[in-house]
Symmetry: C2
Protein backbone atom coordinates (compact mmCIF):
# COMPACT_ATOMS: atom_id res chain seq x y z
CA UNK A 1 0.00 0.00 0.00
CA UNK A 2 2.65 2.41 1.04
CA UNK A 3 4.85 1.57 -1.89
CA UNK A 4 2.11 2.43 -4.34
CA UNK A 5 1.94 6.11 -3.47
CA UNK A 6 4.24 7.08 -6.32
CA UNK A 7 2.26 4.99 -8.78
CA UNK A 8 2.69 1.31 -9.35
CA UNK A 9 2.60 0.74 -13.06
CA UNK A 10 4.16 3.90 -14.40
CA UNK A 11 6.87 3.49 -16.95
CA UNK A 12 8.52 6.69 -15.86
CA UNK A 13 11.35 6.71 -13.40
CA UNK A 14 10.44 7.04 -9.77
CA UNK A 15 12.35 10.30 -9.64
CA UNK A 16 9.97 11.82 -12.14
CA UNK A 17 6.98 10.42 -10.30
CA UNK A 18 8.20 11.81 -6.98
CA UNK A 19 9.04 15.15 -8.53
CA UNK A 20 5.65 15.60 -10.14
CA UNK A 21 3.84 14.52 -7.00
CA UNK A 22 5.76 16.89 -4.76
CA UNK A 23 5.46 19.77 -7.21
CA UNK A 24 1.73 19.34 -7.45
CA UNK A 25 1.34 19.18 -3.69
CA UNK A 26 3.38 22.32 -3.24
CA UNK A 27 1.51 24.27 -5.90
CA UNK A 28 -1.87 23.23 -4.53
CA UNK A 29 -0.80 24.24 -1.01
CA UNK A 30 -1.38 20.68 0.14
CA UNK A 31 2.19 21.13 1.31
CA UNK A 32 1.87 24.63 2.76
CA UNK A 33 4.62 27.24 2.71
CA UNK A 34 7.00 26.62 5.56
CA UNK A 35 6.34 22.89 5.79
CA UNK A 36 9.39 20.76 6.51
CA UNK A 37 10.35 18.19 3.89
CA UNK A 38 12.59 15.52 5.34
CA UNK A 39 14.27 13.43 2.70
CA UNK A 40 14.14 10.38 4.92
CA UNK A 41 10.53 10.91 5.84
CA UNK A 42 9.41 11.50 2.27
CA UNK A 43 11.34 8.48 1.09
CA UNK A 44 9.68 6.28 3.69
CA UNK A 45 6.24 7.71 2.99
CA UNK A 46 6.55 7.25 -0.76
CA UNK A 47 8.16 3.85 -0.57
CA UNK A 48 11.36 4.80 -2.37
CA UNK A 49 14.90 5.51 -1.28
CA UNK A 50 16.34 8.90 -0.55
CA UNK A 51 17.93 9.17 -3.97
CA UNK A 52 14.89 10.01 -6.13
CA UNK A 53 13.44 12.13 -3.34
CA UNK A 54 16.63 14.08 -2.99
CA UNK A 55 16.97 14.61 -6.74
CA UNK A 56 13.39 15.86 -6.83
CA UNK A 57 14.03 18.31 -4.02
CA UNK A 58 17.07 19.64 -5.88
CA UNK A 59 14.93 20.32 -8.93
CA UNK A 60 12.21 21.97 -6.84
CA UNK A 61 14.86 24.08 -5.14
CA UNK A 62 16.04 25.18 -8.57
CA UNK A 63 12.50 26.37 -9.30
CA UNK A 64 12.40 28.23 -6.00
CA UNK A 65 9.56 26.15 -4.60
CA UNK A 66 11.75 24.54 -1.97
CA UNK A 67 14.61 25.86 0.12
CA UNK A 68 17.38 23.52 1.18
CA UNK A 69 19.53 24.38 4.17
CA UNK A 70 22.48 22.01 4.37
CA UNK A 71 22.60 20.00 7.59
CA UNK A 72 19.41 21.72 8.73
CA UNK A 73 16.49 20.77 6.56
CA UNK A 74 14.42 21.36 3.45
CA UNK A 75 11.29 23.45 3.54
CA UNK A 76 8.51 24.50 1.24
CA UNK A 77 9.40 28.09 0.45
CA UNK A 78 7.03 30.80 1.53
CA UNK A 79 5.39 32.76 -1.26
CA UNK A 80 7.78 35.58 -2.02
CA UNK A 81 5.97 38.69 -3.32
CA UNK A 82 9.16 39.77 -5.07
CA UNK A 83 9.35 36.47 -6.93
CA UNK A 84 5.66 36.71 -7.72
CA UNK A 85 6.31 40.08 -9.32
CA UNK A 86 9.34 38.76 -11.19
CA UNK A 87 7.39 35.85 -12.60
CA UNK A 88 4.48 38.13 -13.44
CA UNK A 89 6.79 40.43 -15.38
CA UNK A 90 8.26 37.53 -17.30
CA UNK A 91 4.88 36.06 -18.04
CA UNK A 92 3.36 39.34 -19.13
CA UNK A 93 6.34 40.05 -21.37
CA UNK A 94 6.02 36.69 -23.08
CA UNK A 95 2.25 36.71 -23.49
CA UNK A 96 2.16 40.27 -24.79
CA UNK A 97 4.99 39.55 -27.21
CA UNK A 98 3.03 36.56 -28.44
CA UNK A 99 -0.05 38.70 -29.01
CA UNK A 100 2.10 41.12 -30.98
CA UNK A 101 3.25 38.24 -33.10
CA UNK A 102 -0.13 36.82 -34.07
CA UNK A 103 -0.29 35.83 -37.73
CA UNK A 104 -2.80 37.66 -39.96
CA UNK A 105 -4.97 34.59 -40.23
CA UNK A 106 -5.26 32.24 -37.29
CA UNK A 107 -5.21 28.45 -37.38
CA UNK A 108 -8.92 27.50 -37.25
CA UNK A 109 -8.37 24.32 -35.27
CA UNK A 110 -6.43 26.18 -32.59
CA UNK A 111 -9.17 28.79 -32.42
CA UNK A 112 -11.74 26.05 -32.01
CA UNK A 113 -9.75 24.53 -29.15
CA UNK A 114 -9.80 27.87 -27.39
CA UNK A 115 -13.53 28.21 -27.90
CA UNK A 116 -14.10 24.78 -26.43
CA UNK A 117 -11.86 25.65 -23.52
CA UNK A 118 -13.81 28.85 -22.86
CA UNK A 119 -17.09 26.99 -22.91
CA UNK A 120 -15.81 24.61 -20.26
CA UNK A 121 -14.68 27.54 -18.16
CA UNK A 122 -18.24 28.81 -18.17
CA UNK A 123 -19.65 25.66 -16.53
CA UNK A 124 -21.61 26.80 -13.49
CA UNK A 125 -20.16 25.62 -10.21
CA UNK A 126 -16.95 24.48 -11.86
CA UNK A 127 -14.36 22.89 -9.61
CA UNK A 128 -11.62 25.41 -8.91
CA UNK A 129 -8.82 22.97 -9.66
CA UNK A 130 -10.42 22.14 -12.96
CA UNK A 131 -10.73 25.81 -13.75
CA UNK A 132 -7.10 26.31 -12.93
CA UNK A 133 -6.12 23.60 -15.40
CA UNK A 134 -8.35 25.14 -18.07
CA UNK A 135 -6.83 28.54 -17.34
CA UNK A 136 -3.34 27.16 -17.92
CA UNK A 137 -4.41 25.48 -21.13
CA UNK A 138 -6.10 28.64 -22.32
CA UNK A 139 -2.98 30.75 -21.98
CA UNK A 140 -0.84 28.06 -23.53
CA UNK A 141 -3.32 27.92 -26.40
CA UNK A 142 -2.98 31.64 -26.95
CA UNK A 143 0.78 31.22 -27.24
CA UNK A 144 0.23 28.44 -29.70
CA UNK A 145 -1.67 30.83 -31.99
CA UNK A 146 1.55 32.70 -32.66
CA UNK A 147 3.69 29.57 -32.83
CA UNK A 148 5.46 30.19 -29.56
CA UNK A 149 4.00 27.36 -27.53
CA UNK A 150 7.43 26.19 -26.47
CA UNK A 151 8.08 29.34 -24.51
CA UNK A 152 5.26 28.30 -22.23
CA UNK A 153 7.38 25.56 -20.67
CA UNK A 154 9.96 28.08 -19.50
CA UNK A 155 7.28 30.36 -18.15
CA UNK A 156 5.71 27.45 -16.28
CA UNK A 157 9.03 26.49 -14.75
CA UNK A 158 9.60 30.06 -13.58
CA UNK A 159 6.19 30.92 -12.25
CA UNK A 160 5.85 28.60 -9.28
CA UNK A 161 5.52 31.44 -6.81
CA UNK A 162 3.11 33.24 -9.11
CA UNK A 163 0.91 30.17 -9.43
CA UNK A 164 0.64 29.75 -5.71
CA UNK A 165 -0.42 33.38 -5.39
CA UNK A 166 -2.95 32.98 -8.19
CA UNK A 167 -4.38 29.89 -6.59
CA UNK A 168 -4.76 31.67 -3.27
CA UNK A 169 -6.60 34.44 -5.06
CA UNK A 170 -8.84 31.98 -6.84
CA UNK A 171 -9.75 30.13 -3.66
CA UNK A 172 -10.37 33.46 -2.02
CA UNK A 173 -12.70 34.68 -4.77
CA UNK A 174 -14.39 31.27 -4.72
CA UNK A 175 -15.74 31.98 -8.19
CA UNK A 176 -13.71 32.27 -11.36
CA UNK A 177 -16.41 34.19 -13.22
CA UNK A 178 -14.41 37.43 -13.34
CA UNK A 179 -11.50 35.59 -14.92
CA UNK A 180 -13.74 33.93 -17.46
CA UNK A 181 -15.00 37.33 -18.60
CA UNK A 182 -11.43 38.56 -19.00
CA UNK A 183 -10.47 35.44 -20.92
CA UNK A 184 -13.40 35.98 -23.24
CA UNK A 185 -12.44 39.59 -23.82
CA UNK A 186 -8.85 38.66 -24.68
CA UNK A 187 -9.96 35.87 -26.96
CA UNK A 188 -12.48 38.02 -28.80
CA UNK A 189 -10.00 40.82 -29.33
CA UNK A 190 -7.31 38.43 -30.56
CA UNK A 191 -9.57 36.66 -33.03
CA UNK A 192 -11.00 39.97 -34.20
CA UNK A 193 -7.47 41.16 -34.93
CA UNK A 194 -7.63 43.98 -32.42
CA UNK A 195 -4.09 43.60 -31.11
CA UNK A 196 -4.23 46.75 -29.04
CA UNK A 197 -7.32 45.75 -27.10
CA UNK A 198 -5.97 42.22 -26.67
CA UNK A 199 -2.80 43.64 -25.14
CA UNK A 200 -4.67 45.90 -22.75
CA UNK A 201 -7.05 43.20 -21.66
CA UNK A 202 -4.22 40.74 -21.15
CA UNK A 203 -2.29 43.24 -19.06
CA UNK A 204 -5.23 43.89 -16.80
CA UNK A 205 -5.93 40.20 -16.51
CA UNK A 206 -2.39 39.22 -15.62
CA UNK A 207 -1.89 42.02 -13.14
CA UNK A 208 -4.90 41.06 -11.06
CA UNK A 209 -2.60 38.80 -9.07
CA UNK A 210 -1.04 41.81 -7.38
CA UNK A 211 -4.34 42.64 -5.69
CA UNK A 212 -4.67 39.04 -4.58
CA UNK A 213 -1.25 39.09 -2.95
CA UNK A 214 -1.98 42.22 -0.99
CA UNK A 215 -5.39 41.10 0.16
CA UNK A 216 -4.37 37.60 1.21
CA UNK A 217 -1.12 38.66 2.76
CA UNK A 218 -3.02 40.91 5.14
CA UNK A 219 -5.07 37.94 6.30
CA UNK A 220 -2.53 35.12 6.16
CA UNK A 221 0.96 36.60 6.52
CA UNK A 222 2.44 33.22 7.47
CA UNK A 223 2.11 32.08 3.86
CA UNK A 224 4.44 34.80 2.65
CA UNK A 225 8.09 35.45 3.20
CA UNK A 226 8.86 38.46 5.33
CA UNK A 227 11.60 40.96 4.82
CA UNK A 228 13.54 39.70 7.81
CA UNK A 229 16.11 37.06 7.00
CA UNK A 230 14.22 34.22 8.59
CA UNK A 231 16.24 31.25 9.66
CA UNK A 232 14.47 27.94 9.46
CA UNK A 233 13.39 26.27 12.66
CA UNK A 234 13.67 22.58 13.25
CA UNK A 235 10.90 20.16 12.52
CA UNK A 236 9.53 19.73 16.01
CA UNK A 237 8.43 23.33 15.94
CA UNK A 238 7.64 23.93 12.30
CA UNK A 239 5.99 20.75 11.20
CA UNK A 240 2.31 21.08 11.94
CA UNK A 241 1.98 24.76 12.65
Amino acid sequence: MIASVVGTNTKKTSRRAVYELLRKRVLTMELPPGAALSENELAAALGVSRTPVRESLILLAEEGLVQVFPQVGSFVSRVDPVKVADAQFLREAVELAALDDLPPVLDPSLVRDLETNLERQRQPGIDLEEFFALDEAFHQGLLRLSGHANAWATVVAAKGHLDRARRLGLYDASSPSAFVLQHTEIFDAATRGDAQLARTAMRTHLRAVFDDVERIRARSPELFSSNSTSVPTRRSIAVWE
Copy 2:
Protein backbone atom coordinates in the same frame (compact mmCIF):
# COMPACT_ATOMS: atom_id res chain seq x y z
CA MET B 1 46.27 16.77 -8.70
CA ILE B 2 43.28 15.02 -10.11
CA ALA B 3 41.19 15.69 -7.04
CA SER B 4 41.70 19.40 -7.30
CA VAL B 5 39.93 19.84 -10.60
CA VAL B 6 36.67 20.85 -8.98
CA GLY B 7 38.40 23.38 -6.80
CA THR B 8 40.19 22.70 -3.56
CA ASN B 9 39.24 25.41 -1.14
CA THR B 10 35.73 26.26 -2.25
CA LYS B 11 33.14 26.50 0.46
CA LYS B 12 30.42 25.48 -1.93
CA THR B 13 29.24 21.92 -2.23
CA SER B 14 31.01 19.80 -4.76
CA ARG B 15 27.76 19.41 -6.65
CA ARG B 16 27.64 23.11 -7.30
CA ALA B 17 31.30 23.14 -8.31
CA VAL B 18 30.79 20.26 -10.71
CA TYR B 19 27.62 21.80 -12.11
CA GLU B 20 29.22 25.14 -12.81
CA LEU B 21 32.29 23.56 -14.33
CA LEU B 22 30.30 21.33 -16.65
CA ARG B 23 27.91 24.10 -17.61
CA LYS B 24 30.75 26.38 -18.50
CA ARG B 25 32.48 23.73 -20.56
CA VAL B 26 29.30 22.99 -22.44
CA LEU B 27 28.54 26.63 -23.15
CA THR B 28 32.08 27.32 -24.33
CA MET B 29 31.96 24.27 -26.61
CA GLU B 30 34.91 22.82 -24.76
CA LEU B 31 32.51 19.94 -24.44
CA PRO B 32 31.17 19.94 -27.98
CA PRO B 33 27.61 19.01 -28.96
CA GLY B 34 27.30 15.26 -29.17
CA ALA B 35 30.10 14.52 -26.70
CA ALA B 36 29.44 11.60 -24.39
CA LEU B 37 29.36 12.33 -20.68
CA SER B 38 29.85 9.21 -18.63
CA GLU B 39 28.94 9.69 -15.00
CA ASN B 40 31.66 7.31 -13.91
CA GLU B 41 34.25 8.88 -16.15
CA LEU B 42 33.45 12.42 -15.05
CA ALA B 43 33.43 11.39 -11.41
CA ALA B 44 36.88 9.84 -11.75
CA ALA B 45 38.24 12.79 -13.69
CA LEU B 46 36.93 15.34 -11.20
CA GLY B 47 37.88 13.36 -8.14
CA VAL B 48 34.37 13.06 -6.74
CA SER B 49 31.79 10.33 -6.60
CA ARG B 50 29.00 9.77 -9.06
CA THR B 51 26.47 11.50 -6.84
CA PRO B 52 27.37 15.15 -7.40
CA VAL B 53 28.16 14.44 -11.05
CA ARG B 54 24.83 12.77 -11.57
CA GLU B 55 22.91 15.56 -9.85
CA SER B 56 24.69 18.09 -12.02
CA LEU B 57 23.78 16.21 -15.16
CA ILE B 58 20.15 16.15 -14.08
CA LEU B 59 20.18 19.92 -13.70
CA LEU B 60 21.89 20.39 -17.06
CA ALA B 61 19.35 18.07 -18.63
CA GLU B 62 16.61 20.25 -17.18
CA GLU B 63 18.17 23.22 -18.96
CA GLY B 64 18.32 21.26 -22.18
CA LEU B 65 22.11 21.35 -22.40
CA VAL B 66 22.45 17.63 -21.81
CA GLN B 67 20.37 14.68 -22.91
CA VAL B 68 20.16 11.62 -20.71
CA PHE B 69 19.15 8.30 -22.21
CA PRO B 70 18.53 5.76 -19.45
CA GLN B 71 20.79 2.73 -19.63
CA VAL B 72 22.44 4.19 -22.73
CA GLY B 73 24.35 7.32 -21.88
CA SER B 74 24.38 11.07 -21.39
CA PHE B 75 25.40 13.42 -24.15
CA VAL B 76 25.93 17.11 -24.69
CA SER B 77 22.87 18.10 -26.67
CA ARG B 78 23.35 19.39 -30.16
CA VAL B 79 22.35 23.00 -30.72
CA ASP B 80 18.66 22.88 -31.59
CA PRO B 81 17.65 25.74 -33.90
CA VAL B 82 14.08 25.46 -32.63
CA LYS B 83 15.25 25.90 -29.06
CA VAL B 84 17.47 28.76 -30.13
CA ALA B 85 14.43 30.46 -31.60
CA ASP B 86 12.36 29.75 -28.49
CA ALA B 87 14.99 31.23 -26.22
CA GLN B 88 15.43 34.17 -28.53
CA PHE B 89 11.71 34.88 -28.41
CA LEU B 90 11.69 34.71 -24.64
CA ARG B 91 14.72 36.90 -24.32
CA GLU B 92 13.48 39.49 -26.77
CA ALA B 93 10.10 39.60 -25.04
CA VAL B 94 11.73 40.22 -21.68
CA GLU B 95 14.29 42.77 -22.82
CA LEU B 96 11.78 44.75 -24.86
CA ALA B 97 9.29 44.72 -22.00
CA ALA B 98 12.03 46.04 -19.74
CA LEU B 99 12.79 48.86 -22.17
CA ASP B 100 9.08 49.73 -22.19
CA ASP B 101 9.20 49.89 -18.43
CA LEU B 102 12.14 52.27 -18.05
CA PRO B 103 11.55 54.90 -15.37
CA PRO B 104 11.47 58.56 -16.47
CA VAL B 105 14.77 59.26 -14.75
CA LEU B 106 17.42 56.57 -14.66
CA ASP B 107 19.60 55.64 -11.71
CA PRO B 108 22.88 57.46 -12.38
CA SER B 109 25.09 54.80 -10.83
CA LEU B 110 23.55 52.09 -12.98
CA VAL B 111 24.03 54.27 -16.06
CA ARG B 112 27.66 54.76 -15.10
CA ASP B 113 28.14 51.02 -14.76
CA LEU B 114 26.83 50.57 -18.28
CA GLU B 115 29.14 53.26 -19.61
CA THR B 116 32.11 51.59 -17.98
CA ASN B 117 31.03 48.29 -19.42
CA LEU B 118 30.76 49.75 -22.91
CA GLU B 119 34.23 51.25 -22.64
CA ARG B 120 35.66 47.88 -21.80
CA GLN B 121 33.85 46.36 -24.76
CA ARG B 122 35.67 48.81 -26.99
CA GLN B 123 39.12 47.57 -25.99
CA PRO B 124 40.94 46.74 -29.21
CA GLY B 125 41.76 43.07 -29.57
CA ILE B 126 39.55 42.13 -26.67
CA ASP B 127 39.44 38.47 -25.75
CA LEU B 128 36.22 36.97 -27.07
CA GLU B 129 35.39 35.23 -23.81
CA GLU B 130 35.84 38.47 -21.95
CA PHE B 131 33.61 40.22 -24.43
CA PHE B 132 30.99 37.56 -23.94
CA ALA B 133 31.00 38.15 -20.19
CA LEU B 134 30.73 41.90 -20.73
CA ASP B 135 27.90 41.33 -23.16
CA GLU B 136 25.98 39.36 -20.57
CA ALA B 137 26.60 41.98 -17.91
CA PHE B 138 25.51 44.73 -20.30
CA HIS B 139 22.15 43.16 -20.97
CA GLN B 140 21.65 42.37 -17.32
CA GLY B 141 22.48 45.98 -16.54
CA LEU B 142 19.84 47.18 -18.96
CA LEU B 143 17.26 45.07 -17.14
CA ARG B 144 18.43 46.55 -13.88
CA LEU B 145 17.56 50.02 -15.14
CA SER B 146 13.90 49.12 -15.07
CA GLY B 147 14.12 47.16 -11.82
CA HIS B 148 13.65 43.79 -13.42
CA ALA B 149 17.12 42.37 -12.89
CA ASN B 150 15.74 39.22 -11.33
CA ALA B 151 14.09 38.18 -14.57
CA TRP B 152 17.56 37.83 -16.02
CA ALA B 153 18.22 34.68 -14.01
CA THR B 154 15.29 32.93 -15.64
CA VAL B 155 16.35 34.08 -19.06
CA VAL B 156 19.86 32.83 -18.42
CA ALA B 157 18.61 29.43 -17.33
CA ALA B 158 16.49 29.14 -20.47
CA LYS B 159 18.92 30.38 -23.08
CA GLY B 160 21.61 27.73 -23.04
CA HIS B 161 21.04 26.78 -26.65
CA LEU B 162 20.88 30.43 -27.64
CA ASP B 163 24.17 31.18 -25.92
CA ARG B 164 25.97 28.42 -27.73
CA ALA B 165 24.67 29.72 -31.04
CA ARG B 166 25.73 33.25 -30.12
CA ARG B 167 29.16 32.07 -29.16
CA LEU B 168 29.57 30.26 -32.43
CA GLY B 169 28.61 33.43 -34.23
CA LEU B 170 31.06 35.47 -32.21
CA TYR B 171 33.93 33.10 -32.85
CA ASP B 172 33.00 33.12 -36.48
CA ALA B 173 32.97 36.89 -36.75
CA SER B 174 36.23 36.96 -34.79
CA SER B 175 35.56 40.58 -33.92
CA PRO B 176 32.78 41.87 -31.70
CA SER B 177 32.91 45.37 -33.11
CA ALA B 178 29.53 45.13 -34.79
CA PHE B 179 27.94 44.10 -31.52
CA VAL B 180 29.62 46.94 -29.67
CA LEU B 181 28.10 49.44 -32.09
CA GLN B 182 24.67 47.93 -31.54
CA HIS B 183 25.13 48.02 -27.78
CA THR B 184 26.09 51.67 -27.99
CA GLU B 185 23.05 52.47 -30.08
CA ILE B 186 20.72 50.75 -27.63
CA PHE B 187 22.34 52.41 -24.65
CA ASP B 188 22.22 55.87 -26.20
CA ALA B 189 18.58 55.53 -27.17
CA ALA B 190 17.64 54.25 -23.72
CA THR B 191 19.42 57.01 -21.84
CA ARG B 192 18.05 59.61 -24.25
CA GLY B 193 14.55 58.37 -23.50
CA ASP B 194 13.89 57.29 -27.05
CA ALA B 195 12.06 54.08 -26.20
CA GLN B 196 11.01 53.42 -29.76
CA LEU B 197 14.53 53.52 -31.16
CA ALA B 198 15.82 51.47 -28.25
CA ARG B 199 13.23 48.80 -28.99
CA THR B 200 14.08 48.71 -32.68
CA ALA B 201 17.81 48.57 -32.08
CA MET B 202 17.41 45.86 -29.45
CA ARG B 203 15.27 43.80 -31.79
CA THR B 204 17.81 44.00 -34.58
CA HIS B 205 20.61 43.22 -32.16
CA LEU B 206 18.96 40.18 -30.63
CA ARG B 207 17.82 38.74 -33.92
CA ALA B 208 21.31 38.68 -35.40
CA VAL B 209 21.70 35.22 -33.94
CA PHE B 210 19.39 33.80 -36.57
CA ASP B 211 21.86 34.69 -39.29
CA ASP B 212 24.65 33.10 -37.29
CA VAL B 213 22.75 29.85 -36.99
CA GLU B 214 22.11 29.62 -40.71
CA ARG B 215 25.64 30.48 -41.69
CA ILE B 216 27.38 28.18 -39.24
CA ARG B 217 24.97 25.34 -39.72
CA ALA B 218 25.84 25.26 -43.40
CA ARG B 219 29.49 24.81 -42.52
CA SER B 220 29.29 22.68 -39.37
CA PRO B 221 26.03 20.73 -39.44
CA GLU B 222 27.32 18.23 -36.88
CA LEU B 223 26.94 20.87 -34.16
CA PHE B 224 23.21 21.12 -34.73
CA SER B 225 20.39 18.69 -34.22
CA SER B 226 18.81 17.42 -37.38
CA ASN B 227 15.14 16.91 -38.03
CA SER B 228 15.48 13.15 -37.97
CA THR B 229 14.96 11.60 -34.58
CA SER B 230 18.57 10.68 -34.02
CA VAL B 231 19.24 7.88 -31.60
CA PRO B 232 22.46 8.18 -29.65
CA THR B 233 25.33 5.94 -30.55
CA ARG B 234 27.49 4.27 -27.98
CA ARG B 235 30.66 5.84 -26.70
CA SER B 236 33.10 3.81 -28.68
CA ILE B 237 31.80 5.49 -31.79
CA ALA B 238 30.82 8.92 -30.56
CA VAL B 239 33.57 9.85 -28.20
CA TRP B 240 36.27 11.51 -30.19
CA GLU B 241 34.55 12.13 -33.47
